[in-house]
């Protein structure tokens, strides 16, 4: 699979995502500059972590206006796999591809450490290679990862089983102590209605080798490879693919 990693000015986990896709998953990986109007023929897209446009104003608020986002919107609405990690999740929320918003951490400080996540549904492009209820140990690194959505949205997310990951303890229990940032309902990641767009705050691309402290991010990234590859005709909706 050809995996595209969008690079905004200020993205800083782009190299990590490209490395994971190429060297660890053994796939073809391409960087896509933010002012590109096409997605370079990618079959799956990762929006990486970082501080796009310095995250001045509000996280992800400026990145959503990048030229590449027009192509990405169509790519996502066509049902292609899109994974937003950390800043990528924030951008997906800002651009309306996912509901809700990421507020400042409850502790008001940046937090970087290993956390545990429970896989709440395996019916998404980021969890189809996971076990239901599987507990993953994956690091977080964010200052604004406190997921918030209004009651109606939350109710709908739950009803449609669109909460993909929840913060939990080592045993998989959802507890207040295991919530690192104050996210409502311990939500760490969600998906869209089509289940092809997933955003999460933790960094699976940093947990791909035992030497890095955990390899639990692998099933998340491998899930992308199982995503239904749409026909070239569908993908060709995005202009100027270069295929």
């Amino acid at each position: 699979m050809k995996i595209g990693v969008v690079v905004f000015p200020g993205s800083n986990c782009d190299h990590d995502a490209l490395y994971a896709a190429e060297k660890v998953l053994g796939q073809e990986a391409v960087a896509i500059w933010h002012d590109s109007t096409d997605l370079r023929g990618a079959e799956a897209i990762i929006l990486p972590g970082g501080f796009s446009y310095g995250d001045y104003l509000r996280t992800g608020a400026i990145a959503r206006f990048s030229p590449v986002m027009t192509a990405l919107q169509r790519f996502a609405r066509d049902g292609n796999p899109v994974l937003g990690i950390c800043n990528g999740f924030q951008i997906l929320c800002e651009s309306g591809l996912l509901p809700g918003a990421l507020l400042r951490n409850a502790g008001l400080r940046f937090a970087c450490r290993q956390v545990h996540l429970r896989v709440e549904t395996t019916d998404t492009i980021a969890t189809n290679a996971c076990q239901p209820g599987q507990v993953l140990r994956i690091p977080i690194a964010h200052g604004e990862g406190n997921y918030f959505a209004d009651a109606g949205t939350l109710e709908r997310l739950r009803r449609e089983q669109r909460v993909v990951f929840r913060y939990c303890d080592e045993a998989g229990e959802i507890t207040p102590a295991s919530n690192p940032n104050g996210s409502v309902d311990n939500i760490a990641g969600i998906c869209n209605e089509g289940r092809n767009v997933v955003g999460l705050m933790p960094h699976p691309e940093r947990a791909v080798e035992a030497g890095l402290g955990s390899a639990d991010g692998l099933p998340v990234l491998r899930s992308l490879l199982n995503a239904p590859v749409l026909s070239a005709a569908t993908r060709l909706h995005t202009p100027a693919q270069g295929v």
């Binding site: 000015p9 200020g10 800083n12 986990c13 190299h15 990590d16 490395y19 994971a20 060297k23 972590g49 970082g50 501080f51 446009y53 310095g54 995250d55 001045y56 400080r109 940046f110 937090a111 970087c112 450490r113 290993q114 956390v115 545990h116 690091p139 690194a141 200052g143 913060y167 939990c168 303890d169 080592e170 045993a171 229990e173 507890t175 102590a177 295991s178 690192p180 960094h203 691309e205 940093r206 791909v208 030497g211 890095l212 402290g213």
Partner: protein
């Protein structure tokens, strides 16, 4: 402020004094120019001849440091030192202080400290892959060592400095996208008015893609890139070269403002522009901004530079030549490109949305010539600003000793367990996770060991190599003996690196001292440099660069002499492995042997008590400092480090952690709890130890003595004899202390129990102490 009055001002003795220049220095300027300087020229001389830029008090001493070795590709004098890592890779690294700005404005002072050191590294063509920081603050509560009489307003100010500095370091590094691998956070009353913020950065490059700060090639264009120039930071270097007084609050506008997003763009643009092959030389605009970058690049290449300030991108209107030349606006670089290839460089910077403008040209006359509004406003030989800067052999005098040699009566009246728990709750020994969890420690997915370990370790992707690094320093040791303290700093940093299995190969230093015009301070500086010289030579870790920060005094109160050193080592993968695996500091499994490897000197009972006076125990529990720093024999230290590295390479060890602050007791505790544990209620399943120590005299001495050249390791019982065989020829003692066990720390001395604790109990205290101290209201007793 000086720069507001510069437009039409005569150079009077007051003006000269306000620029921090002595009458003699002014006469030297006149002689070098052969005329009176213009006001702009006076400003340029004042920053380049400031202590911060010229090292005028320390240079004569620094030349004694060893700077060469088999791994050194570039020693002091460039933006950063460079070592040969192997496999065609080079590593650039350096440590630098940002103390004065961090006191005036903690958040911005710290951010720009990190920003500056990162630029020093990537200007060499090296992509930064790790930062660390060494921080010193005043006490947070009156219950800390020596803090009983600290006024509440000082404690409150210390709180805000700690929060601001940590948030600033975090903000810059996190946004820039470089992992912070830890460092040190130390509290002592002498740092109340003088916090120390020493930032270290390390980057890697292919050896054939290194860049230097040299303005070569007559006729080549001089190009300005990055942020626009504003009025911020004018005379920052001069501020960092004087003591603080009550008027220092007014210096807030002298502190620069950092923009890590812009720096990230600058990094990517610079590295990409370097790939074009059109760049001849490059240097960041740090202290003294346009002035230092231009005259230093010209000075190194033996060329001149002519610049037209009208072309400099400006953030504010109506700036004078004086203001532009002295501005310390951040995130700017000056580069020299090959004539005719400017457009290749411009295209890259345009892609990243950054200014890139030709502002001048390399000339053959060796002069720094500055034009503004069509007039020449400064014309100074480059070497007058660099090589000809004053150098002083300032008088030195050993201060009269005021501290006792022996412990006060009743020093041993506390029970070991009570002392241990109180020390575990002291901010100096408690877990620093409150600090380092605010830092992104993993971005770039190279971090093999992060904060909490003996040394940080990052791999170099695509190679069989990793780099280990550690920062160390101990002001209290240096208070008792600056020379011994400096030797101990190098020894500990190198030992930390060796504990990961890496070979320490080079060092960088940041010398934080008081006012060098005081003979006692000058003596301390000379002694410390002498100590560094000895230790770096003995341990074969030459100094490749660094920085000197003097005048760390507020209202006449100076800091303890505080040399901070960073040691870098190379870790190579075993033959049958693809990647290097650093040794961990933490016990790995129950049922392993816990072993003390020691090359510590044998001390008489009397000397042992004197050497206890410099420890955390003495400061925290006894509330006094006496005697001498821990003893250190550099040859024995070297044998110990060789022994540890050999044992790791032979696959004998399961963990290795050096004995330092808090002594053997805290080495054992950290081996059990040091790793950042999940605090989500999960049972971490800690692995503790059940050990018996041998000791003469008070159990407090055995537990908390900080004698150097000791490492606690663990190994499987089967490997113990192999370890002994490795250690014997090196003269390293192998003491089998006991075994690892689950969830408890039990220590006896000569078979008599002295500590028996559940790890969860200590963990609560140790893990939360710093956060609680920061959250507590600062109230005096």
């Amino acid at each position: 402020m000086i720069f507001e009055k510069t437009r039409d001002m005569n150079i009077t003795p007051e003006v000269i004094r306000d620029h921090g220049l002595t009458p003699d220095e002014f006469q030297k300027i006149r002689k070098l120019l052969g005329r009176d300087p213009s006001l702009t020229e006076l400003g340029i001389f004042s920053v380049m001849w400031s202590e911060h830029c010229s090292y005028k008090s320390s240079r004569v001493l620094l030349k004694n440091l060893p700077t060469e070795g088999p791994y050194v590709l570039q020693g002091p004098g460039e933006n950063a030192g460079i070592i040969d890592v192997g496999e065609g890779w080079a590593c650039a690294f350096k440590i630098e202080s940002h103390n004065h700005p961090s006191y005036v404005e903690p958040f911005q002072g710290a951010t720009t400290g990190v920003g500056g050191i990162l630029r020093d590294v990537f200007t060499m063509g090296a992509r930064p892959i790790a930062i660390m920081d060494s921080l010193r603050f005043g006490p947070l509560s009156p219950f800390e060592a020596g803090a009983r009489n600290t006024p509440p307003e000082t404690l409150a100010r210390n709180h805000s400095i700690v929060s601001g500095v940590v948030a600033g370091v975090a903000h810059y590094g996190n946004c820039f996208g470089v992992p912070n691998l830890g460092g040190e956070t130390v509290f002592d009353p002498c740092y109340s008015g003088n916090p120390l913020v020493n930032a270290f950065a390390l980057g890697v490059a292919r050896q054939d893609q290194l860049f230097f700060g040299r303005a070569s090639g007559i006729g080549n264009p001089v190009i300005y890139v990055g942020a626009k120039t504003g009025r911020d930071g004018i005379h920052g270097a001069t501020m960092a070269s004087e003591e603080f007084s009550e008027a220092s609050e007014a210096k807030r506008p002298n502190v620069q403002v950092g923009d890590p997003f812009l720096e990230k763009l600058l990094l990517e643009a610079c590295l990409e522009a370097m790939q074009t092959g059109a760049i001849v030389g490059i240097q960041d605009m740090g202290a003294a901004g346009l002035t230092s970058s231009s005259c230093e690049m010209g000075g190194r290449a033996g060329t001149g530079i002519e610049m037209d300030l009208d072309r400099v991108p400006q953030r504010e209107s109506g700036m004078t030549a004086y203001e532009m030349m002295l501005s310390e606006s951040q995130e700017r670089m000056l580069l020299v490109a090959e004539k005719g290839r400017e457009d290749e460089v411009f295209a890259v910077f345009r892609k990243w949305g950054l200014d890139a403008v030709t502002v001048g040209v390399v000339t053959s006359d060796g002069l720094l010539r500055i034009k503004h509004h069509g007039e020449v406003v400064a014309e100074i030989p480059n070497t007058a600003l660099t090589d000809e800067a004053p150098r002083y052999h300032r008088p030195q005098r050993e201060p009269a000793r005021t501290l006792a040699m022996n412990p006060p009566p009743g020093w041993d009246s506390i029970s070991p367990e009570k002392a241990f728990l109180r020390m575990a709750a002291s901010p100096n020994l408690a877990s620093k996770h409150w600090v380092y969890e605010q830092y992104d420690t993993m971005v770039r997915s190279n971090t093999l060991e992060g904060p909490g370990a003996d040394a940080g370790v990052v791999r170099i992707k695509g190679t069989k190599r990793a780099l280990a690094m550690a920062l160390d320093g101990n002001g209290r040791y240096c208070r008792l003996s600056p020379k011994e303290g400096a030797r101990l700093a190098i020894a500990e940093a190198a030992r930390n690196v060796a504990c990961t299995g890496a070979l320490p190969v080079a060092a960088t230093n940041c010398l934080n001292f008081g006012n060098p015009e005081k003979p006692e301070v000058m003596w301390q500086l000379a002694q410390a440099i002498d100590g560094l010289r000895e230790a770096c030579a003995a341990l074969e870790t030459p100094i490749t660069g660094g920085n000197v920060s003097l005048y760390n005094e507020t209202l006449g109160q100076g800091i303890d002499p505080t040399p901070i050193v960073g040691v870098v080592g190379i870790l190579t993968a075993a033959e049958d492995e693809e990647e290097p695996r650093p040794m961990s500091a933490n016990f790995r499994s129950v049922g392993h042997r816990v072993v003390l490897l020691s090359a510590a000197s044998e001390l008489s009972p009397e000397e042992a008590l004197q050497r206890l006076g410099a420890t955390e125990f003495a400061a925290t529990i006894v509330g006094e400092t006496w005697g001498l720093p821990p003893a250190l024999d550099l040859e024995r230290e070297r044998s110990l480090q060789t022994c540890v590295r050999n044992a790791i390479a032979a696959g004998v060890l399961e963990s290795a952690h050096d004995v330092s602050d808090g002594g053997l007791a805290f080495c054992l505790l950290e081996s059990a709890l040091g790793r950042p544990v999940e605090r989500d209620g999960s049972s971490a399943g800690s692995i503790g130890a059940r050990v018996n120590l041998r000791g003469d005299g008070s159990p407090l001495l055995t537990l908390f003595d900080e004698s150097a050249s000791r490492v606690v390791v663990s190994c499987t019982p089967e490997k113990l004899s192999q370890l002994q065989a490795l250690a014997r020829p090196l003269g390293v003692q192998v003491m089998d202390l006991g075994e690892t066990c689950s969830d408890r720390l039990e220590v006896s001395i000569n078979q008599k129990p002295v500590l028996a604790l559940a790890l969860t109990e200590v963990q609560q205290v140790w893990q939360n102490a710093l956060q609680e101290a920061l959250q507590a209201e600062a109230v005096a007793v």
